[in-house]
Amino acid sequence: MGRRLLRCAGYGFSVTVAVVWTILPIYWTLKTALFSPVEAVAFPAPIFPLHPHLAAFLNIFGFGFTDANGQYFMPAGQAPQVIHGLVNSLIVAAAVTAITLVIVVPLAYAFGRFSFRGKTALLMAILFSVAVPPVSTLIPFYILFIQLGLTGTKFGLVIVNLTVTVPFVTWMLIGYFRNLPPVERLAQIDGFSRLGTLLLVVIPMARSGIAVAAVVSFLFAWNEFVFATQLVNGTDAATLPTAVSGFLFLQPQPGLLSASLWISIVPAALVAYYLQRHIASLGMVDAFY
């Protein structure tokens, strides 16, 4: 009985360590967003905010805030850029997700279910594209976009994002499609055409895998920083990460930066429960054997 109690305590302790490890960096930033001005400049930094308030979260959206002592917090000068960045990020991420899925679903289906000549070579090409460092594709696109006048456009940013999402998501989905039950023959007997089989039978069966693939592409485009810094920073097409980077590099505002980061985590946090249930159904492990 004593040993069992000890085991339970050990497990509880391990879980606590894991949760602290996971949450600590995120918490440390939230705390900065909630600090009062006195706490923000205090050294050493308090571990818990004693007088938390939501000023930073309102300020980044252009609202003022008056706290209990009557102190007024001005709206951030960059509020218009933050809001604009939020909208741009949504548009870019949605476009990247939609285009990625349209490209990747048929491709992964063809690779996962059929054998045809040249398949191995094409698979290798996809794996190779996953290994290419994004910086080295950024240089050619940057020079091309300068010549075509595409820097500072959402269109250009979407194209560059696709160079990362398409190979990665294809890889995630190939194994998933392969592991689905073999329904093609049955569908054929029921009179479905090949395209009909894909659209009406296979895609509905594969919806959880496709949903996870969509979330992965959305999060990648939503979170992408270096491409955006280089291609759209300071323009009308600036996405949230670049709009926010002003709080980091130009004029450090830890409170506002932290609040903006928290806003950027919201979409991810909303789907976290769904993601953790279904992510392992993607066949990343068995795509290639």
Binding site: P25, I26, R113, V132, I139, I143, L248, Y273, M284
Partner: protein
Amino acid sequence: MTKYRRELSNGQFALLLSVPVIAFLLMVMIYPMTYAIWLSFQEVSFFGGFRTTYTGFANYQEALLSRDFWWSTLVTIRFVLLSVVLSIGIGLALAMLMDRAGKWRSILGTIIILPWSVSLYGAGVMWAYLARGQTGVASSLINLIRGTNTSETATEISLISGRHIVDLLALGNAWSIAPLVAFFLLASLKTIPSRLHDLAGLDQLTAWERFVHVTLPPLHYSLFVFTSIAMILSMKQLDFIYVMSAGGPGDASSTLTYRLYELAFRQSNYGLSAAMSFYLLFLTIGSALALHFLWGRKLENA
């Protein structure tokens, strides 16, 4: 005969589906790659309009002869090795915790997956705040323990130093990769029949023996795949390093990706940057192949 015809039309259908896609991939992948190859043989100048001059292998040679390139290569290797070991280790630990969590699994899983969905630039800011002396967790904790809470008496402890910045970056990188590893390892852990654990109990195996003989074997192939994935992701890592340390202090954490970025977009030395990017690509693919031949192939044959 019928079988042959069905196979053929499978192939045709697959081609029909993939031709437009492959055309698109050619556009977005082959174009930049070819252009980068061409660029690596040129000297680019922007003054007086965009001009390039063919210089043969000069850029490749310059890279090999520069001290900076070799330093960055070493930094990259250190960063990647540590990142891989930490990501796999932490991922495995998280997977085993979730495996035993029972009805709390979904809640634990929702918490554990969060770092993976935090952007890398966000993670960079978070880890920088956490590690700095002024705002950091180390200063806060040590002064809390000592009871020195005024700025005159408090000591400042910064975790960011030239000696250990790469280790810290690898730890932060592992923070963001480990959840992905954990969920796929968890899926493999679920395939172990509980009978085996009961038998291990009957045989009175120690916890360590049970880990080595019952838990690890079914994970072997997944461990290989995720070692490869963690390695490739770490080799490509730029956002996190860019935000957290910007290659510094000095050039203590200038990985190859950071060096490439700086050469191209700060110094407009596109040719040299492109040439170095191919060395990085060789290093990435070379390591992936080495891993495959030394480890993965044995598993497939087994």
